[in-house]
Protein backbone atom coordinates (compact mmCIF):
# COMPACT_ATOMS: atom_id res chain seq x y z
CA UNK A 1 0.00 0.00 0.00
CA UNK A 2 1.04 3.58 -0.51
CA UNK A 3 0.26 6.85 1.13
CA UNK A 4 -0.28 9.79 -1.20
CA UNK A 5 0.36 13.02 0.60
CA UNK A 6 -0.59 16.03 -1.41
CA UNK A 7 -0.17 19.71 -0.60
CA UNK A 8 -2.77 21.79 -2.49
CA UNK A 9 -4.36 25.24 -2.59
CA UNK A 10 -7.16 25.45 -0.02
CA UNK A 11 -9.89 26.59 -2.37
CA UNK A 12 -9.36 23.60 -4.64
CA UNK A 13 -10.06 21.04 -1.93
CA UNK A 14 -13.63 20.39 -3.05
CA UNK A 15 -12.54 19.71 -6.62
CA UNK A 16 -9.72 17.38 -5.62
CA UNK A 17 -11.92 15.52 -3.16
CA UNK A 18 -14.56 14.95 -5.81
CA UNK A 19 -12.01 13.73 -8.35
CA UNK A 20 -10.59 11.28 -5.84
CA UNK A 21 -14.05 10.00 -4.99
CA UNK A 22 -14.71 9.46 -8.67
CA UNK A 23 -11.79 7.10 -9.04
CA UNK A 24 -13.03 5.09 -6.06
CA UNK A 25 -11.31 6.59 -3.04
CA UNK A 26 -13.61 6.22 -0.06
CA UNK A 27 -11.64 7.82 2.76
CA UNK A 28 -9.10 10.55 3.24
CA UNK A 29 -7.72 12.79 5.95
CA UNK A 30 -6.96 16.48 5.58
CA UNK A 31 -4.87 18.90 7.62
CA UNK A 32 -4.53 22.66 7.51
CA UNK A 33 -0.83 23.37 7.00
CA UNK A 34 1.31 26.27 5.92
CA UNK A 35 3.71 26.13 3.07
CA UNK A 36 6.89 27.85 2.11
CA UNK A 37 8.31 27.64 -1.37
CA UNK A 38 8.60 29.41 -4.67
CA UNK A 39 5.24 31.14 -4.30
CA UNK A 40 5.82 34.43 -2.59
CA UNK A 41 3.78 35.83 0.27
CA UNK A 42 2.31 39.27 0.72
CA UNK A 43 2.61 42.21 3.06
CA UNK A 44 0.17 43.45 5.68
CA UNK A 45 0.23 46.76 7.51
CA UNK A 46 -0.83 47.52 11.05
CA UNK A 47 -0.55 51.19 12.01
CA UNK A 48 2.32 51.57 9.65
CA UNK A 49 4.27 48.51 10.78
CA UNK A 50 4.66 46.06 7.92
CA UNK A 51 4.28 42.30 8.34
CA UNK A 52 5.48 39.85 5.76
CA UNK A 53 3.32 36.77 5.44
CA UNK A 54 5.73 34.09 4.21
CA UNK A 55 4.01 30.88 5.19
CA UNK A 56 0.96 30.50 3.02
CA UNK A 57 -2.11 28.46 3.85
CA UNK A 58 -2.28 25.07 2.18
CA UNK A 59 -4.27 21.91 2.65
CA UNK A 60 -2.56 18.56 3.03
CA UNK A 61 -4.59 15.60 1.79
CA UNK A 62 -3.52 12.16 2.93
CA UNK A 63 -4.91 9.06 1.24
CA UNK A 64 -3.74 5.53 1.80
CA UNK A 65 -4.30 3.39 -1.27
CA UNK A 66 -3.57 0.00 -2.81
CA UNK A 67 -0.52 0.28 -5.06
CA UNK A 68 -2.51 -0.14 -8.24
CA UNK A 69 -4.55 2.98 -7.60
CA UNK A 70 -1.59 5.29 -7.11
CA UNK A 71 -1.27 6.46 -10.70
CA UNK A 72 -4.98 7.05 -11.03
CA UNK A 73 -4.98 9.14 -7.90
CA UNK A 74 -1.97 11.17 -9.01
CA UNK A 75 -3.71 11.93 -12.27
CA UNK A 76 -6.89 12.92 -10.48
CA UNK A 77 -4.98 15.37 -8.30
CA UNK A 78 -2.90 16.79 -11.13
CA UNK A 79 -6.03 17.39 -13.16
CA UNK A 80 -7.90 19.30 -10.46
CA UNK A 81 -5.23 21.00 -8.36
CA UNK A 82 -3.20 22.58 -11.14
CA UNK A 83 -3.53 26.29 -11.94
CA UNK A 84 -0.11 26.60 -13.54
CA UNK A 85 1.11 29.26 -11.13
CA UNK A 86 3.68 28.96 -8.39
CA UNK A 87 2.27 27.39 -5.29
CA UNK A 88 0.18 24.61 -6.76
CA UNK A 89 1.92 22.21 -4.40
CA UNK A 90 3.40 18.72 -4.45
CA UNK A 91 2.47 15.08 -4.31
CA UNK A 92 4.61 12.77 -2.18
CA UNK A 93 4.28 9.00 -2.39
CA UNK A 94 5.49 6.93 0.57
CA UNK A 95 5.28 3.24 1.48
CA UNK A 96 2.80 1.99 4.08
CA UNK A 97 3.40 -1.40 5.69
CA UNK A 98 0.13 -2.06 7.36
CA UNK A 99 -3.35 -0.59 7.69
CA UNK A 100 -5.87 -1.51 10.38
CA UNK A 101 -9.48 -0.42 10.61
CA UNK A 102 -10.13 0.36 14.26
CA UNK A 103 -13.84 -0.38 14.10
CA UNK A 104 -13.42 -3.97 12.94
CA UNK A 105 -9.78 -4.82 13.35
CA UNK A 106 -9.59 -5.66 9.62
CA UNK A 107 -6.09 -5.38 8.19
CA UNK A 108 -4.48 -4.63 4.85
CA UNK A 109 -6.35 -3.42 1.79
CA UNK A 110 -9.64 -4.58 3.26
CA UNK A 111 -9.22 -1.92 5.91
CA UNK A 112 -9.13 0.99 3.47
Amino acid sequence: MRKIESIIRPHLLEAVKTALQEIGVIGMTITEVKGFGRQKGHTETYRGAEYKVEFLPKIKIEVVLPEEMVDLAIDAILKTARTGKFGDGKIFVTPVEEVIRIRTGERGEAAL
Binding site: R9, P10, L13, E14, E32, G84
Partner: protein, 478 residues
Protein backbone atom coordinates in the same frame (compact mmCIF):
# COMPACT_ATOMS: atom_id res chain seq x y z
CA UNK B 1 -36.56 8.10 14.31
CA UNK B 2 -40.30 7.83 14.33
CA UNK B 3 -41.54 10.31 11.78
CA UNK B 4 -45.02 10.68 13.21
CA UNK B 5 -43.77 11.45 16.69
CA UNK B 6 -41.44 13.98 15.20
CA UNK B 7 -44.31 15.71 13.45
CA UNK B 8 -46.28 15.85 16.66
CA UNK B 9 -43.31 17.25 18.53
CA UNK B 10 -42.95 19.96 15.96
CA UNK B 11 -46.59 20.96 15.98
CA UNK B 12 -46.69 21.42 19.73
CA UNK B 13 -44.87 24.74 19.90
CA UNK B 14 -46.92 26.04 17.01
CA UNK B 15 -50.14 25.13 18.76
CA UNK B 16 -48.95 26.76 21.96
CA UNK B 17 -48.06 29.88 20.10
CA UNK B 18 -51.38 30.08 18.31
CA UNK B 19 -53.18 29.65 21.62
CA UNK B 20 -51.24 32.62 22.92
CA UNK B 21 -52.32 34.69 19.96
CA UNK B 22 -55.86 33.70 20.64
CA UNK B 23 -55.66 34.91 24.22
CA UNK B 24 -54.08 38.07 22.97
CA UNK B 25 -56.83 38.94 20.55
CA UNK B 26 -59.26 38.86 23.45
CA UNK B 27 -57.41 41.62 25.21
CA UNK B 28 -56.56 43.58 22.16
CA UNK B 29 -57.84 47.04 21.25
CA UNK B 30 -60.20 48.12 24.05
CA UNK B 31 -57.81 48.36 26.94
CA UNK B 32 -55.93 51.37 25.89
CA UNK B 33 -58.48 54.12 25.80
CA UNK B 34 -58.32 54.96 29.48
CA UNK B 35 -54.71 56.06 29.26
CA UNK B 36 -55.29 58.20 26.26
CA UNK B 37 -54.88 61.58 27.85
CA UNK B 38 -51.42 61.58 29.40
CA UNK B 39 -51.05 63.59 32.58
CA UNK B 40 -47.88 65.47 33.37
CA UNK B 41 -44.80 63.38 34.03
CA UNK B 42 -41.40 64.56 35.14
CA UNK B 43 -39.12 64.49 32.12
CA UNK B 44 -35.82 64.29 34.01
CA UNK B 45 -36.98 61.29 36.01
CA UNK B 46 -38.53 59.69 32.95
CA UNK B 47 -35.39 60.12 30.92
CA UNK B 48 -33.43 58.54 33.73
CA UNK B 49 -35.77 55.59 34.21
CA UNK B 50 -35.99 54.81 30.50
CA UNK B 51 -32.22 54.88 30.19
CA UNK B 52 -31.92 52.62 33.22
CA UNK B 53 -34.43 50.24 31.70
CA UNK B 54 -32.31 50.02 28.58
CA UNK B 55 -29.22 49.46 30.73
CA UNK B 56 -30.82 46.55 32.54
CA UNK B 57 -31.87 45.08 29.21
CA UNK B 58 -28.22 45.32 28.14
CA UNK B 59 -27.20 43.37 31.23
CA UNK B 60 -29.07 40.31 29.99
CA UNK B 61 -27.94 40.52 26.37
CA UNK B 62 -25.20 40.90 25.53
CA UNK B 63 -23.93 41.34 29.13
CA UNK B 64 -24.85 38.14 30.89
CA UNK B 65 -24.95 36.23 27.61
CA UNK B 66 -21.27 37.00 27.05
CA UNK B 67 -20.28 36.54 30.67
CA UNK B 68 -21.74 33.05 30.60
CA UNK B 69 -21.00 32.29 26.95
CA UNK B 70 -17.28 32.84 27.40
CA UNK B 71 -17.12 30.36 30.26
CA UNK B 72 -18.58 27.34 28.54
CA UNK B 73 -16.80 25.15 26.05
CA UNK B 74 -16.86 26.09 22.40
CA UNK B 75 -19.45 23.53 21.46
CA UNK B 76 -22.05 25.04 23.81
CA UNK B 77 -21.55 28.75 23.42
CA UNK B 78 -24.56 29.38 21.19
CA UNK B 79 -26.90 27.40 23.40
CA UNK B 80 -25.66 29.45 26.35
CA UNK B 81 -26.14 32.75 24.55
CA UNK B 82 -29.54 31.49 23.48
CA UNK B 83 -30.64 31.03 27.09
CA UNK B 84 -30.20 34.74 27.77
CA UNK B 85 -31.42 35.97 24.42
CA UNK B 86 -34.48 33.75 24.46
CA UNK B 87 -35.29 34.76 28.03
CA UNK B 88 -35.31 38.33 26.82
CA UNK B 89 -37.97 37.42 24.26
CA UNK B 90 -39.95 34.98 26.34
CA UNK B 91 -40.21 36.85 29.61
CA UNK B 92 -40.56 40.07 27.66
CA UNK B 93 -43.90 38.73 26.48
CA UNK B 94 -44.83 36.88 29.67
CA UNK B 95 -44.37 40.10 31.63
CA UNK B 96 -46.64 42.11 29.37
CA UNK B 97 -49.31 39.43 29.31
CA UNK B 98 -49.55 38.34 32.94
CA UNK B 99 -46.25 38.79 34.76
CA UNK B 100 -46.62 42.46 35.58
CA UNK B 101 -50.08 42.16 36.99
CA UNK B 102 -49.14 39.20 39.18
CA UNK B 103 -46.26 41.24 40.58
CA UNK B 104 -47.65 44.75 40.76
CA UNK B 105 -51.42 44.38 40.42
CA UNK B 106 -53.53 45.38 43.41
CA UNK B 107 -52.42 43.29 46.38
CA UNK B 108 -54.34 40.09 47.11
CA UNK B 109 -53.72 39.00 50.68
CA UNK B 110 -50.10 40.05 50.71
CA UNK B 111 -49.29 37.12 48.45
CA UNK B 112 -49.88 38.05 44.85
CA UNK B 113 -50.98 40.88 42.60
CA UNK B 114 -54.52 40.98 41.20
CA UNK B 115 -55.32 40.59 37.54
CA UNK B 116 -56.19 44.23 36.91
CA UNK B 117 -53.19 44.81 34.67
CA UNK B 118 -53.53 41.62 32.61
CA UNK B 119 -52.11 42.33 29.17
CA UNK B 120 -50.79 45.70 30.46
CA UNK B 121 -54.41 46.88 30.70
CA UNK B 122 -54.41 50.23 32.45
CA UNK B 123 -50.66 50.60 32.20
CA UNK B 124 -50.35 53.82 30.27
CA UNK B 125 -48.32 56.91 29.61
CA UNK B 126 -49.43 58.75 32.73
CA UNK B 127 -47.83 58.13 36.11
CA UNK B 128 -49.45 55.86 38.63
CA UNK B 129 -50.25 57.41 41.98
CA UNK B 130 -47.45 59.38 43.52
CA UNK B 131 -44.93 58.57 40.82
CA UNK B 132 -43.22 61.07 38.55
CA UNK B 133 -42.72 58.71 35.63
CA UNK B 134 -45.11 57.08 33.16
CA UNK B 135 -46.65 53.90 34.45
CA UNK B 136 -45.35 52.21 31.30
CA UNK B 137 -41.81 53.24 32.15
CA UNK B 138 -42.06 51.72 35.60
CA UNK B 139 -43.58 48.53 34.22
CA UNK B 140 -40.85 48.12 31.62
CA UNK B 141 -38.11 48.83 34.15
CA UNK B 142 -39.51 45.98 36.20
CA UNK B 143 -39.79 43.80 33.09
CA UNK B 144 -36.03 43.85 32.69
CA UNK B 145 -35.60 42.61 36.26
CA UNK B 146 -37.84 39.63 35.62
CA UNK B 147 -35.94 38.86 32.45
CA UNK B 148 -32.46 38.93 33.92
CA UNK B 149 -33.47 36.86 36.92
CA UNK B 150 -34.58 34.02 34.67
CA UNK B 151 -31.46 34.40 32.56
CA UNK B 152 -29.23 34.21 35.63
CA UNK B 153 -30.48 30.76 36.60
CA UNK B 154 -29.48 29.27 33.27
CA UNK B 155 -25.85 29.31 34.33
CA UNK B 156 -26.60 26.38 36.60
CA UNK B 157 -27.63 24.00 33.87
CA UNK B 158 -25.58 25.31 30.97
CA UNK B 159 -24.11 22.69 28.65
CA UNK B 160 -26.76 20.04 29.33
CA UNK B 161 -30.34 21.37 29.59
CA UNK B 162 -32.82 20.47 26.89
CA UNK B 163 -34.10 23.57 25.15
CA UNK B 164 -37.79 22.71 25.32
CA UNK B 165 -37.43 21.98 29.02
CA UNK B 166 -35.71 25.33 29.50
CA UNK B 167 -38.60 27.19 27.88
CA UNK B 168 -41.21 25.47 30.00
CA UNK B 169 -39.14 25.94 33.13
CA UNK B 170 -38.58 29.61 32.42
CA UNK B 171 -42.26 30.31 31.95
CA UNK B 172 -43.33 28.45 35.07
CA UNK B 173 -40.53 29.85 37.19
CA UNK B 174 -41.23 33.44 36.19
CA UNK B 175 -44.91 32.97 36.89
CA UNK B 176 -44.83 30.99 40.10
CA UNK B 177 -41.64 32.17 41.74
CA UNK B 178 -40.45 35.49 40.41
CA UNK B 179 -43.81 37.21 40.16
CA UNK B 180 -44.95 36.35 43.70
CA UNK B 181 -41.56 37.19 45.19
CA UNK B 182 -41.49 40.55 43.41
CA UNK B 183 -44.97 41.15 44.78
CA UNK B 184 -43.97 40.21 48.32
CA UNK B 185 -41.01 42.56 48.32
CA UNK B 186 -41.92 45.46 46.08
CA UNK B 187 -45.53 45.09 45.01
CA UNK B 188 -47.17 45.63 48.37
CA UNK B 189 -46.87 42.06 49.65
CA UNK B 190 -46.14 40.78 53.13
CA UNK B 191 -42.36 41.25 53.12
CA UNK B 192 -42.79 44.86 52.06
CA UNK B 193 -45.37 45.41 54.78
CA UNK B 194 -42.97 43.93 57.34
CA UNK B 195 -40.37 46.47 56.33
CA UNK B 196 -37.87 44.12 54.74
CA UNK B 197 -35.45 46.29 52.78
CA UNK B 198 -34.40 45.28 49.30
CA UNK B 199 -33.48 48.35 47.32
CA UNK B 200 -32.82 46.78 43.95
CA UNK B 201 -33.27 43.05 44.19
CA UNK B 202 -30.96 41.19 46.55
CA UNK B 203 -33.68 38.76 47.48
CA UNK B 204 -36.00 39.08 44.50
CA UNK B 205 -33.31 38.73 41.87
CA UNK B 206 -30.15 37.25 43.32
CA UNK B 207 -31.22 34.95 46.12
CA UNK B 208 -34.10 33.66 44.06
CA UNK B 209 -31.97 32.91 41.00
CA UNK B 210 -29.04 31.61 43.03
CA UNK B 211 -31.02 29.23 45.19
CA UNK B 212 -33.03 28.02 42.22
CA UNK B 213 -29.77 27.44 40.42
CA UNK B 214 -28.52 25.23 43.23
CA UNK B 215 -31.68 23.16 43.16
CA UNK B 216 -31.56 22.91 39.38
CA UNK B 217 -27.94 21.80 39.46
CA UNK B 218 -28.79 19.09 41.96
CA UNK B 219 -31.89 17.86 40.14
CA UNK B 220 -30.41 17.93 36.65
CA UNK B 221 -27.10 16.44 37.71
CA UNK B 222 -23.49 16.94 36.73
CA UNK B 223 -22.13 17.37 33.27
CA UNK B 224 -20.40 14.31 31.83
CA UNK B 225 -16.84 14.29 33.03
CA UNK B 226 -17.39 16.75 35.86
CA UNK B 227 -15.25 17.54 37.73
CA UNK B 228 -12.12 15.77 36.43
CA UNK B 229 -12.36 16.17 32.70
CA UNK B 230 -13.86 19.52 31.89
CA UNK B 231 -12.69 21.91 29.23
CA UNK B 232 -11.49 25.31 30.41
CA UNK B 233 -13.51 28.42 29.42
CA UNK B 234 -13.39 28.83 25.68
CA UNK B 235 -13.28 32.64 25.45
CA UNK B 236 -12.30 34.62 28.53
CA UNK B 237 -12.28 37.97 26.71
CA UNK B 238 -16.02 37.47 26.17
CA UNK B 239 -16.42 36.86 29.88
CA UNK B 240 -14.49 40.00 30.75
CA UNK B 241 -16.54 41.97 28.24
CA UNK B 242 -19.68 40.54 29.78
CA UNK B 243 -18.56 41.43 33.30
CA UNK B 244 -17.83 45.00 32.24
CA UNK B 245 -21.23 45.31 30.57
CA UNK B 246 -22.88 43.90 33.68
CA UNK B 247 -21.09 46.52 35.78
CA UNK B 248 -22.19 49.24 33.36
CA UNK B 249 -25.78 48.04 33.30
CA UNK B 250 -25.84 47.65 37.06
CA UNK B 251 -25.82 51.42 37.37
CA UNK B 252 -29.26 51.28 35.79
CA UNK B 253 -30.26 48.35 37.96
CA UNK B 254 -29.38 49.95 41.29
CA UNK B 255 -29.45 53.69 40.67
CA UNK B 256 -32.53 53.31 38.50
CA UNK B 257 -34.30 51.71 41.45
CA UNK B 258 -34.44 55.17 42.99
CA UNK B 259 -37.06 55.81 40.28
CA UNK B 260 -36.03 59.47 40.26
CA UNK B 261 -32.87 61.22 39.11
CA UNK B 262 -31.61 62.86 42.26
CA UNK B 263 -29.46 62.39 45.31
CA UNK B 264 -30.67 58.89 46.04
CA UNK B 265 -29.82 57.73 42.54
CA UNK B 266 -26.40 59.34 42.87
CA UNK B 267 -25.84 57.55 46.16
CA UNK B 268 -26.89 54.19 44.73
CA UNK B 269 -24.62 54.82 41.75
CA UNK B 270 -21.68 55.58 44.01
CA UNK B 271 -22.00 52.62 46.33
CA UNK B 272 -22.57 50.31 43.38
CA UNK B 273 -19.30 51.29 41.79
CA UNK B 274 -17.42 51.26 45.05
CA UNK B 275 -18.63 47.86 46.19
CA UNK B 276 -17.81 46.35 42.80
CA UNK B 277 -14.32 47.82 42.89
CA UNK B 278 -13.66 46.68 46.46
CA UNK B 279 -14.91 43.19 45.71
CA UNK B 280 -12.87 42.89 42.52
CA UNK B 281 -9.72 43.82 44.40
CA UNK B 282 -10.53 41.49 47.27
CA UNK B 283 -11.09 38.43 45.11
CA UNK B 284 -7.86 39.11 43.23
CA UNK B 285 -5.92 39.43 46.47
CA UNK B 286 -7.42 36.25 47.91
CA UNK B 287 -6.29 34.38 44.81
CA UNK B 288 -2.90 35.99 44.96
CA UNK B 289 -2.41 34.82 48.52
CA UNK B 290 -3.94 31.37 48.10
CA UNK B 291 -2.91 30.42 44.58
CA UNK B 292 0.05 32.63 43.89
CA UNK B 293 -1.54 34.48 40.99
CA UNK B 294 -4.45 36.88 40.65
CA UNK B 295 -6.62 35.96 37.67
CA UNK B 296 -8.78 38.18 35.53
CA UNK B 297 -11.66 35.74 35.83
CA UNK B 298 -11.35 36.01 39.59
CA UNK B 299 -11.27 39.80 39.50
CA UNK B 300 -14.31 39.90 37.24
CA UNK B 301 -16.14 37.34 39.34
CA UNK B 302 -15.35 39.34 42.45
CA UNK B 303 -16.69 42.52 40.87
CA UNK B 304 -19.93 40.75 40.01
CA UNK B 305 -20.16 39.38 43.56
CA UNK B 306 -19.74 42.90 44.88
CA UNK B 307 -22.45 44.18 42.57
CA UNK B 308 -24.76 41.42 43.74
CA UNK B 309 -24.14 42.14 47.40
CA UNK B 310 -24.60 45.89 47.19
CA UNK B 311 -27.86 45.52 45.29
CA UNK B 312 -30.28 45.29 48.23
CA UNK B 313 -28.29 47.86 50.21
CA UNK B 314 -27.62 50.37 47.48
CA UNK B 315 -30.16 52.97 48.61
CA UNK B 316 -29.46 52.68 52.32
CA UNK B 317 -25.75 52.64 53.13
CA UNK B 318 -22.78 55.00 53.18
CA UNK B 319 -19.99 54.89 50.66
CA UNK B 320 -17.56 53.46 53.16
CA UNK B 321 -19.99 50.76 54.22
CA UNK B 322 -20.14 49.76 50.58
CA UNK B 323 -16.41 49.06 50.64
CA UNK B 324 -16.93 46.61 53.46
CA UNK B 325 -19.97 45.06 51.81
CA UNK B 326 -17.98 44.56 48.64
CA UNK B 327 -15.05 43.00 50.47
CA UNK B 328 -17.35 40.70 52.39
CA UNK B 329 -19.03 39.64 49.18
CA UNK B 330 -15.79 38.39 47.70
CA UNK B 331 -14.87 36.49 50.84
CA UNK B 332 -18.27 34.81 51.05
CA UNK B 333 -18.54 34.00 47.36
CA UNK B 334 -14.94 32.86 47.06
CA UNK B 335 -15.61 30.34 49.78
CA UNK B 336 -18.85 29.28 48.09
CA UNK B 337 -17.19 28.69 44.75
CA UNK B 338 -13.91 27.25 45.90
CA UNK B 339 -14.73 25.43 49.10
CA UNK B 340 -18.43 24.70 49.31
CA UNK B 341 -18.94 23.59 45.72
CA UNK B 342 -16.07 21.08 45.57
CA UNK B 343 -16.99 19.77 49.02
CA UNK B 344 -20.63 19.20 48.18
CA UNK B 345 -19.84 18.09 44.66
CA UNK B 346 -22.78 19.69 42.86
CA UNK B 347 -22.15 20.99 39.35
CA UNK B 348 -23.47 24.55 39.28
CA UNK B 349 -21.76 25.11 35.93
CA UNK B 350 -21.25 28.85 36.07
CA UNK B 351 -21.48 29.39 39.84
CA UNK B 352 -24.86 31.04 40.00
CA UNK B 353 -25.42 29.84 43.55
CA UNK B 354 -21.90 30.66 44.67
CA UNK B 355 -22.04 34.21 43.35
CA UNK B 356 -25.70 35.22 43.27
CA UNK B 357 -27.20 32.98 45.91
CA UNK B 358 -24.54 33.56 48.53
CA UNK B 359 -23.73 37.10 47.44
CA UNK B 360 -27.39 38.03 47.54
CA UNK B 361 -27.77 36.50 50.96
CA UNK B 362 -24.77 38.38 52.27
CA UNK B 363 -26.10 41.58 50.75
CA UNK B 364 -29.54 41.17 52.30
CA UNK B 365 -28.02 40.59 55.71
CA UNK B 366 -25.47 43.36 55.26
CA UNK B 367 -28.37 45.69 54.58
CA UNK B 368 -29.63 44.77 58.03
CA UNK B 369 -26.22 45.65 59.42
CA UNK B 370 -25.23 48.81 57.57
CA UNK B 371 -28.51 50.51 56.64
CA UNK B 372 -28.84 54.00 58.05
CA UNK B 373 -31.69 56.47 58.17
CA UNK B 374 -29.10 59.21 58.01
CA UNK B 375 -28.43 58.05 54.48
CA UNK B 376 -32.01 57.49 53.45
CA UNK B 377 -34.82 58.53 55.77
CA UNK B 378 -37.19 56.32 53.81
CA UNK B 379 -35.11 53.31 54.82
CA UNK B 380 -34.31 52.05 58.29
CA UNK B 381 -31.39 51.79 60.68
CA UNK B 382 -29.50 48.53 60.73
CA UNK B 383 -27.82 46.68 63.56
CA UNK B 384 -24.71 48.87 63.45
CA UNK B 385 -26.94 51.89 63.81
CA UNK B 386 -28.65 50.48 66.85
CA UNK B 387 -31.59 48.63 65.38
CA UNK B 388 -31.32 44.83 65.62
CA UNK B 389 -34.94 44.48 64.54
CA UNK B 390 -34.01 45.36 60.99
CA UNK B 391 -31.49 42.55 60.88
CA UNK B 392 -34.26 40.17 61.95
CA UNK B 393 -36.44 41.54 59.20
CA UNK B 394 -33.72 40.95 56.68
CA UNK B 395 -33.22 37.40 57.88
CA UNK B 396 -36.91 36.77 57.45
CA UNK B 397 -36.68 38.12 53.92
CA UNK B 398 -33.76 35.82 53.21
CA UNK B 399 -35.49 32.76 54.62
CA UNK B 400 -38.69 33.46 52.75
CA UNK B 401 -36.93 33.85 49.42
CA UNK B 402 -34.73 30.78 50.01
CA UNK B 403 -37.81 28.76 50.83
CA UNK B 404 -39.93 29.93 47.94
CA UNK B 405 -37.13 29.59 45.40
CA UNK B 406 -35.87 26.28 46.73
CA UNK B 407 -39.14 24.45 47.08
CA UNK B 408 -40.74 26.10 44.08
CA UNK B 409 -37.91 25.25 41.73
CA UNK B 410 -37.91 21.65 42.87
CA UNK B 411 -41.62 21.33 42.18
CA UNK B 412 -41.39 23.07 38.83
CA UNK B 413 -38.52 20.88 37.67
CA UNK B 414 -40.42 17.76 38.65
CA UNK B 415 -43.43 18.99 36.69
CA UNK B 416 -41.34 19.88 33.65
CA UNK B 417 -39.62 16.52 33.92
CA UNK B 418 -42.93 14.81 33.46
CA UNK B 419 -43.66 16.65 30.23
CA UNK B 420 -40.20 16.36 28.68
CA UNK B 421 -36.80 15.14 29.78
CA UNK B 422 -34.79 17.91 31.45
CA UNK B 423 -31.50 16.86 29.99
CA UNK B 424 -30.15 16.17 26.53
CA UNK B 425 -28.91 12.69 25.74
CA UNK B 426 -25.33 11.67 26.45
CA UNK B 427 -24.66 11.69 22.75
CA UNK B 428 -26.01 15.21 22.34
CA UNK B 429 -23.98 16.40 25.28
CA UNK B 430 -20.77 15.06 23.74
CA UNK B 431 -21.66 16.51 20.38
CA UNK B 432 -22.33 19.85 21.97
CA UNK B 433 -25.62 21.62 22.37
CA UNK B 434 -25.02 24.12 19.57
CA UNK B 435 -25.14 21.48 16.88
CA UNK B 436 -27.41 19.08 18.72
CA UNK B 437 -30.14 21.52 19.73
CA UNK B 438 -29.76 24.41 17.32
CA UNK B 439 -28.00 22.99 14.28
CA UNK B 440 -25.40 25.74 14.34
CA UNK B 441 -21.73 26.11 15.09
CA UNK B 442 -20.41 29.25 16.76
CA UNK B 443 -17.22 29.79 14.84
CA UNK B 444 -15.93 28.94 11.42
CA UNK B 445 -12.40 30.12 11.73
CA UNK B 446 -10.01 29.40 8.97
CA UNK B 447 -6.41 28.78 9.74
CA UNK B 448 -4.68 32.16 9.77
CA UNK B 449 -4.66 33.30 6.20
CA UNK B 450 -6.54 30.15 5.20
CA UNK B 451 -8.71 32.53 3.30
CA UNK B 452 -10.21 30.52 0.53
CA UNK B 453 -10.90 27.09 1.90
CA UNK B 454 -14.14 25.54 0.76
CA UNK B 455 -14.84 28.28 -1.75
CA UNK B 456 -15.96 27.53 -5.28
CA UNK B 457 -13.43 26.18 -7.72
CA UNK B 458 -11.96 29.08 -9.67
CA UNK B 459 -10.67 29.49 -13.15
CA UNK B 460 -7.02 29.11 -14.04
CA UNK B 461 -6.13 32.75 -13.87
CA UNK B 462 -7.15 33.23 -10.28
CA UNK B 463 -4.54 31.39 -8.37
CA UNK B 464 -2.21 33.48 -6.26
CA UNK B 465 -4.14 33.92 -3.04
CA UNK B 466 -2.85 37.36 -2.16
CA UNK B 467 -2.47 39.26 -5.41
CA UNK B 468 -2.18 42.79 -4.13
CA UNK B 469 1.15 44.01 -2.93
CA UNK B 470 2.50 40.54 -3.58
CA UNK B 471 6.13 40.40 -4.39
CA UNK B 472 6.50 39.94 -8.15
CA UNK B 473 6.37 36.28 -9.06
CA UNK B 474 9.16 35.59 -11.49
CA UNK B 475 9.94 32.05 -12.67
CA UNK B 476 12.64 30.37 -10.60
CA UNK B 477 16.09 30.78 -12.02
CA UNK B 478 16.78 27.22 -12.94
Amino acid sequence: MNRKRLKKRRLLPLAAWLALVGILSIFCSPTYAEDAAPRAVHSGDTAWLLVCTALVMLMTAPGLALFYGGLVSQRNVLSTLMHSFFALCLIGIQWVLWGYTLSFGADVGGIIGGLGHLGFRGVGPDPSDGATVPHLAFAMFQAMFAIITVALITGAFAERMKFAAFILFALLWATFIYDPLAHWTWGGGWLMKRGVLDFAGGTVVHISSGVSALVAALVIGRRIGYPEKMLPPHNLPFTVMGAALLWFGWFGFNAGSALTAGGLAALAFTVTNTAAAAAGLTWAFIEWVRQGKPTILGTATGAVAGLVAITPASGYVTVLSSVLIGMGASVVCYLGVNVLKPRWGYDDSLDVFGVHGLGGTWGAIATGLFASKAVNPAGADGLFYGNPAQLMNQIIGVLASWALAGVGTLVILKVVGVVTSLRVTKEEEITGLDVALHGEEAYNFLAPGMSSARLAPVSQEASSPHPLRAVEESPPSQ
